[in-house]
Structures are given as C-alpha cells and as structure tokens.
C-alpha cells in the first residue's frame, strides 16, 4: 500500500528511541517528530509505516497527531516563524511587530510566502518572557525584537 520507507540511519535512530521505553507506543511522538524533521510534513503514508512499527492502528496515530500543534500535514516554508503573542510579549508591543513582519514578507499571518521560504504563525507563550517580544524561527529563539532586528534576521536567512 505504501512506498514510504525509513532510511538506514533513521532505522538506527528509531532503534535507539525504542530502547528508551518499556512500552513501544511511547515512541509515537518521537517518531512523528523524526519524520517531520526529515520530510517537513507527516504524510498519511508515513503514518501507516509508523503505526506498523509500533503495532498500533493508523487511526490512532492520526488521532494523537492531530492533538499536538507542532505536527503539519501540509507543507510549510523552509523557515517557520512562530511569533509569540501571549501576555508578556503583548505588553511589549508584539502586535505591531507581527504586523510589520507580515508586511515585510507580504503575506497574512498563517500563510506561506510564494517562494515557500517563510511561513508565519501566531504562537502561544514560548517560555522566553523575559526577552519579550520574541519569536522562534525553526529551532532558534530570537528575543528583544524591534522592527530593525526582525528585518535583519529575515534578511540574513537564505
């Protein structure tokens, strides 16, 4: 049914993940993360392969996956910009900065640029409130944002 296959390196990594837990299902989130990091999305084919690996149903995989906000089923940009809009950032002017970022990228919040380079999302608190306003671009946190700093960060990414 599915051509989806893990690479040899991935298989090794998966063996290491499975060894951490006495119950296989615990490896579900780590495996979804592994797939998404490689493919940018978790495809239905990948879900089936994961379900077989863990002896659970594909429907269960999808149910769990849909609960968490970090998994995508649709393609996102090369750089995922998550802009914190929670209270500490709000008090420090994040709304204007988010508007500025959207304008600079020429997209609306929630959209991806036409060259598929940037996706811009609102995000809830990212636990860096003392550096508010802040955003996360892929895995990197950027704090104490200003319009100039945002421009610099975006321009420096290729």
């Amino acid at each position: 049914m599915s051509d989806y296959k893990f690479t040899e390196d991935q298989e090794k990594e998966i063996a290491g993940i499975l060894a951490k837990y006495p119950v296989k299902t615990s490896a579900l989130l780590p495996l979804l993360t592994l797939v998404q990091r490689a493919d940018q999305v978790v495809s239905p084919e990948a879900m089936v392969v994961i379900s077989k690996k863990l002896d659970i149903s594909p429907a269960y995989v999808q149910s769990v996956m849909s609960f968490y906000t970090m998994y995508h089923t649709e393609k996102v940009g090369k750089y995922m910009i998550l802009f914190c809009i929670n209270i500490s950032c709000q008090l420090n002017g994040c709304d204007k900065l988010l508007e500025h970022t959207a304008k600079k990228l020429n997209i609306k919040v929630g959209e991806t640029t036409s060259d598929e380079k940037f996706t811009l999302h609102r995000e809830e608190c990212l636990a860096a409130c003392t550096e508010a306003p802040m955003m996360r671009v892929n895995d990197t946190y950027y704090g104490n944002l200003t319009e100039q700093r945002i421009d610099q960060i975006i321009d420096s990414l290729d």
Binding site: K20, Y21, P22, V23, K24, T25, S26, A27, L28, L29, P30, L32, T33, L54, I56, S63, V64, F67, Y68, T69, M70, Y71, L82, I85, N86, I87, S88, Q90, L91, N92, E124, C125, L126, A127, A128, C129, T130, E131, A132, R136, D139, T140, Y141
Partner: protein
C-alpha cells in the same frame, strides 16, 4: 561538566549513598520544600506517597514549561543541566527509582541536545548507569519531547503524552504516586524543584528551612516580565516584598509609567491591583491577598493599557489550549472569549459582566484538571479590581447594537 564538578557538583551523591533512601525523603520533608511548578505541594510528602513495594517506579521531570510569563526552567536547562541531573539522581535514590524521563516541551528541541550531552557526560563519569559510584544503585535518565500542547504540563496529561497518547488529563484518584506512568508508582516534579534537592542534601535540611518564612521555606526563582525595565529571572528568599522585585531587581516600570496591576504567579492566577504591591512574595501571603504564587511568574502591567485587553489575550490562550475533554472548559473558554471580545468591540452592556461571572461559576472546580480554573482567574480578578476598565467599553455603544 568539568566546571560543574570543580564547583562542587555531584558531591551530594556520596553523602546520599551513605544514607538510607528514607533518610533523604525525611530530609526533603524537613526542608519544607514545596513543588515549584505551580501547585506548591510539599515535595517530601509527595515522595512518601509512592505505593509501598510496587516496582518498577518512575520519575518524570516536568520540563513542559509553558505557563505564560514563566521562563525559569528554560534558563536552568540551558545553563545548568547537570544540576537537574544531580537532583534527579538524588530523588531516584530516595524513592528507589531506576528509570527517569525529562519531559520537555517540543519547542525546546535545541535544549534537548544540551540535555542529552549532559546526560552522556554523566554516564561517562559513572553518575548514571549500573552500580553508580559502587552503591549498587542503578539509574537511567532519558529526554522526551512533547509537540506543542500547554495541557501536557498538567501531570496526568503529561503521563498520557509520554505514553504516546493525546495529552488529556486523567481522573484523579488514583494519583500518579499510586498509578502513574505505565500504571506504576510515579514521582512527577518540576525542574526547579529537583534542582533544589542537591542543596538540601549537601547543606542539610535545617539550612534550607532557615531561609524564607514559617510556611514558605527557602528561595524561589521568579520570572519578572511585562512592563519592567529589566525583565529577568531573579532568585529571592521567600517573603521578599513584591515591590522589591518590581522596583529594585527588575528596575521599575518602563517609561516611568505607573503600576496598574500585577499577576504574581503566571497567567493562571488572579491579578492584583497596584495597591497590594507590598504583599510579601510567599505562598501564604499571596493566598491571603486572594491570589497564588503559582509557577513564580510575575507579570507587571502599567497604566498604559486597559486590563480588558490583557484579559482577552489570556482568554484566547486558554481557548486555544483547552484539550476539549471536559464540556465546561471546552465550551466555557470559548464563551468567555466571545463575550469579552464583544465588549471590546463596543458591543457590550453591563449585564455581560454578570453573564461572565455566571459562566465562571459554572467552570470552577467542575473539570478534570485546573485549566478551566486557570481561565476563570483573570476574568474574575479583572472584574473585581478593574470593573471600571470594562465600563469604559459600555460608554460608546452605538444605538441599536444590542438587541
């Protein structure tokens, strides 16, 4: 690792292994240490509740830090991962646990590399693994990443997530100490809590208990954020006046505006007006003032904004993060948001406040976990202390808006 050892790191292990596990539990009890994640439950007591003679047992370190305003655990993980490992080893020895997990929020992916590296270093030195320092005690610790869900910071939801399920809270009892991870006795402690344990073992419970107030012992990391000049994580002795945190440590209010309100313990606790800024920062004094110490996240709000704006932002957070399992929370968070949003669009009327209070009353203590109560806190407290901010929006309602 080298620096950490030079500064006395991992010295507590020898001291601990020379004692019986129960003696460590007794010391933590005597120290008066209370959970630093939010609930403030006595840590030693929690450890002593583990079901007797049931093995294996598990330790879960809660590093899902996502309470708005809180960022102390991230700093601990980033700058002092070995302190956490040392605390987890001590806790595991005391509770006779052989497997520990550090549940980190998915956004901490980078930090998980730092943590894994520290764990490898500890393994190489023989602080983890089989027969640690010849004591006969075995322990393995693993990191586990979540994937974006505030609710997984609630301990029973964290367990479901770690088991590979949806992060929905469980019915309690049974409490995790009896039936936790994989239905086995489990200790769940916050990062900061575990980081305090090495000090207690090294310096003695009395020395820790000598700090703080009668019932709130020791020190606390407070994340000060919002309208302050020098936001940051500050370690204070329990009982320090809140004003000291805001005006001295954090440098006062931005642009020398006036303080309007502050939320002392993360977005889930009731806010207080400026008149109560001298309240001592400890569990009992904050409770007496009608709020909670929570996770130790002090959010400072000045008089440049209307409190309803801040309240709406928090409501949209809880609406987004409600897991949907319990009806009062799933529906209530949405209704509160809709009503406050309407008020802010100048489409409200005075009766809306009664409606908000009515909904809040139907959400409090009616759900599996405290997310609904957390959502209610900013609404009830903002109405109590800043009713006039709501009334501002009722003044300019265009005729015919309300049917």
């Amino acid at each position: 690792m080298k620096v950490y050892e030079e500064l006395g790191g991992y010295q507590s292990l020898k001291k601990a292994f020379a004692q019986k596990p129960d003696e460590i539990v007794a010391a933590v009890k005597a120290s008066g240490l209370r959970g630093r994640g939010g609930a403030g439950f006595p840590t030693g007591l929690k450890w002593s509740f583990l079901a007797k003679d049931v093995f294996p047992r598990y330790l879960c370190c809660n590093a899902d830090e996502s309470e708005p305003g809180t960022c102390k655990d991230r700093e601990l993980l980033l700058k002092n991962p070995h302190l956490l490992i040392e605390g987890m080893i001590l806790c595991s020895y005391a509770c006779r646990i052989e497997t520990g997990y550090i549940y980190m929020r998915g956004e901490f992916h980078d930090l998980s590399f730092i943590m894994n590296k520290a764990l490898d270093e500890a393994r190489a030195k023989g602080y983890l693994g089989k027969n640690i320092l010849g004591s006969g005690f075995n322990l393995e610790i693993h990191t586990h990443l979540g994937a974006g869900a505030y609710i997984c910071g609630e301990e029973s939801a964290l367990l479901n997530s770690l088991e590979g399920g949806r992060g929905e809270p469980r019915m309690k009892p049974p409490f995790p100490a009896v039936e936790g991870l994989y239905s086995k006795p489990t200790v769940i402690n916050n990062v900061e809590t575990l980081c305090v344990v090495p000090y207690i073992v090294n310096e003695g419970a009395e020395k820790y208990a000598a700090l703080g107030t009668e019932k709130s012992k020791g020190t606390k990391l407070v994340s000060v954020s919002g309208h302050v000049k020098k936001p940051g994580n500050y370690e204070i002795e329990m009982g320090t006046p809140t004003s000291e945190l805001i005006y001295n440590l954090a440098g006062g209010i931005q642009n020398d505006n006036k303080l309007k309100a502050f939320i002392p313990g993360g977005s889930s606790v009731p806010m207080l007006p400026a008149s109560l800024v001298d309240t001592p920062y400890d569990y009992e004094s904050l409770a007496a003032a009608g709020t909670m110490l929570g996770s130790g996240a002090l959010i400072v709000i000045d008089d440049s904004i209307n409190i309803v704006e801040a309240t709406l932002r928090l409501l949209s957070f809880y609406m987004h993060e409600s897991c949907g399992k319990c009806t009062p929370c799933r529906e209530g968070t949405r209704w509160l948001h809709q009503i406050v949003e309407r008020i802010m669009q100048n489409k409200g009327q005075l009766e809306y406040i009664e409606k908000l209070e009515d909904i809040c009353g139907n959400m409090s203590f009616k759900t599996f976990c405290p997310l609904a109560d957390a959502c209610v806190a900013p609404v009830v407290s903002s109405i109590k202390h800043f009713r006039s901010d709501y009334e501002e929006y009722f003044k300019n309602v265009p005729a015919g808006t309300i049917s």
